[in-house]
Symmetry: C2
Subunit: 224 residues, 2 copies
Amino acid sequence: MTDKPLEIAILVCPGFMQIDVVGFHTIISMIPGANVHLAWKNRDEIAGAPHFPTRATTTFADCPKDLDVLFAGAVPPEVMEDAETLEFLADRGSRARWVAGVCAGSLLLGAAGLLRGYRATTNFQLHDRLPLVGAIPERGNVVEDRNRITAGPATGCHEIGFRLVQDLAGDELAMIAELASEYAPKPLFGVGTPELAGPGLTARTLAFSERLVTGLGHSAGGRG
Amino acid sequence: MTDKPLEIAILVCPGFMQIDVVGFHTIISMIPGANVHLAWKNRDEIAGAPHFPTRATTTFADCPKDLDVLFAGAVPPEVMEDAETLEFLADRGSRARWVAGVCAGSLLLGAAGLLRGYRATTNFQLHDRLPLVGAIPERGNVVEDRNRITAGPATGCHEIGFRLVQDLAGDELAMIAELASEYAPKPLFGVGTPELAGPGLTARTLAFSERLVTGLGHSAGGRG
C-alpha cells in the first residue's frame, strides 16, 4: 500500500448503459481521495442509453496508464467491435489491479482479450456468448476469478462496487457503503432471474430485449 | 387511456445524486413511446454527485405542463431551498398523475408542499425530518399513499420504476422490466438497513454520511 490515490476508469461512449455504471461510480467514489474517471475517445457530449447526456472526464490518451480498476458496462454493438476501444481496454486491462465488467460490458472485456481462461458472467440474454471470447461461463450475480470480476444484472454494478471497496479500502468502509446506500432491495414481483421468472416470461423478455436492441439503436433495458 | 405519449420529468441540478435517478430513468423508459425528460432551470452542463457531467434535456419553462410522473432524487441543500425549483415542483406536482421521490428527493417534494398529510419515506439518515414538511413518516423501501410514492435507498428508484411501469403500462411489461434488468440483488454483507447493521455500524455510517455532506459539497453516498 502507498499513499498514491486510487485511479479508477469507467468506460463511457455513445449509447452506453448508464444503469450499468452509476451504482459502481457512486460507491467506489466513497473511497477517500479516489480519482474516478469517465473515459472515452474524446470529451464531446455523448448520450447514454436511454437518452442521458454526458461527457467523458478523460480521454483514452490522457487516462492514467496504471489503473486500480478498469470498469465497463454495456455498450452498443459498434463499440464492441471498435479497434481503438478494444486496444485501450486491452492495454489498461493488462496492468490494472482489477478488471470489472457488467452485462455486455463483460463481453466487451472479453472482446479485448481480457477474459480468456477466466470464469465470468454477463446478463442472461447474452450468457451463451461468453465462450466466444474465451471465458468460462458461470451463473451468478457477481463472479470473481483472480482479478477479473463480472456481473450480470445492472444492480451487479453496486455489488462489484461493495466488493472492490472491500478489497481496496477494507471491510469497514465497504459495510458503511452498503448501509449508506441502504442496499437491501425488495423486488416488486420476485421474477428477476430466468429461474424465478419461469420459461414463459423469460421467452417474452428475451423477445422484448431483442426488439429494444434491434430497434432504434436505443438499447434500454435489454442489455442493462 | 388515450394515445397521448406518457410525459415523465426527472429533476436534475448541480450536485444531484445520479444513483437516485438512473434506475428509474432506465426502467420507465421501457414503456414504448414514453417521453422521459431531465428538467432543470437551463440546459448548461452540470455535474451530478459524485462528479458525473450531464445536462438537462428540457428547462422548467419548456417542460410539459401535465406530467404522468414528476420524479426527484437527492439534491444539495441549496436546491432544497431554491424558490424557482420549489415553484416548478409545486406546479407540476399539483397536476401530475404520480409524484415520486427517492432519498432526500422526498424531502424536496415535501419542501414544495407536496407531501402534506401523505405517508412517505426517505433515507434513514434523514427519516426524522419528514414531519418537518408535514409528511407522515413510514419506514419501508417504497411507501405509496394515493399518488405519492417515495423510497429510501437509492435502489428504491428501481422499485418505484417497476411499480409505475405496472401502473402506467400493466403487469406484463413491469414483470418483463424486472427480469430484463435482472433485479434480484444479493447484498455482499447484508447490512443494508439500520436494523440489519446494528447500532454500532449505523452510528459510524451516520458519521461518515455527515462528513460527506458537510465535506466538499460533494455529497456521494450519504444522501444516496
